[in-house]
Subunit: 99 residues, 2 copies
DNA sequence: AATATAATTAGACATTTATCTAAATATCTA
DNA sequence: TAGATATTTAGATAAATGTCTAATTATATT
């Protein structure tokens, strides 16, 4: 699988995008994340696993809990794909903002 | 389906991302696009249909041909999602480049 | 009008995906 | 060590996805 394919597939699911948005605010345990959804915990665990495989998140066990946090590196690569499409304008309105 | 879900799903397939990259360079007919893949034409037609539903591309018939082109508006909305996650830094290295 | 070309639609099929419940693993605490 | 809590893994299943061939639609040409 290509480098970008896994993160793109991972981001194609709304639950996983919501998780990413939550982790933007703060690191969270699997349980805290699951509490924000009306979905069985194993389902969330599965989503976290896909985000982890895509290297969009990092996990670290602390005692009984496993904390999840964003891995901005792979994020940047996906963003770069869009920048490349848009001629590196990145959506800025002014010419000065372009690279 | 949420506004962003369709484009995200559409971009989760590598063939469709390749099509987007091709359309970045120039507008193309369905046939020209299909010639770049070792895939049956109806399969490409299906991919184009998904990109069209997601409003990532626009189609226009000219005689026997149907020309496809990028619709940057919806693109921008997807880019904005990433900007929002990344605190609107957009991946620029320098503070000055931020909005 | 008949034929050729460009593209889509229809329908079938195998694979992948998202979800669930039940069971297993890991850690903490009494 | 036994029990409680947090999380994952296993296995099942329904729905979605990507691909194909065959048929259809739309346009152009002779």
């Amino acid at each position: 699988m290509s480098l970008l394919n896994m993160p793109f597939k991972a981001l194609s699911d709304p639950t996983r995008r919501k998780i990413i948005q939550m982790l933007k605010e703060k690191d969270m345990t699997a349980g805290e994340i699951a509490d924000n959804f009306s979905m069985a915990k194993p389902s969330i665990s599965h989503h976290l696993s896909i985000l982890k495989q895509a290297q969009l998140v990092i996990d670290e066990r602390k005692g009984q809990n496993i904390y999840y946090s964003l891995n901005t590196t792979v994020f940047q690569e996906v963003v770069n794909w869009f920048f490349n499409i848009k001629g590196r304008s990145g959506g800025f309105e002014n010419e000065e903002d372009k690279i």
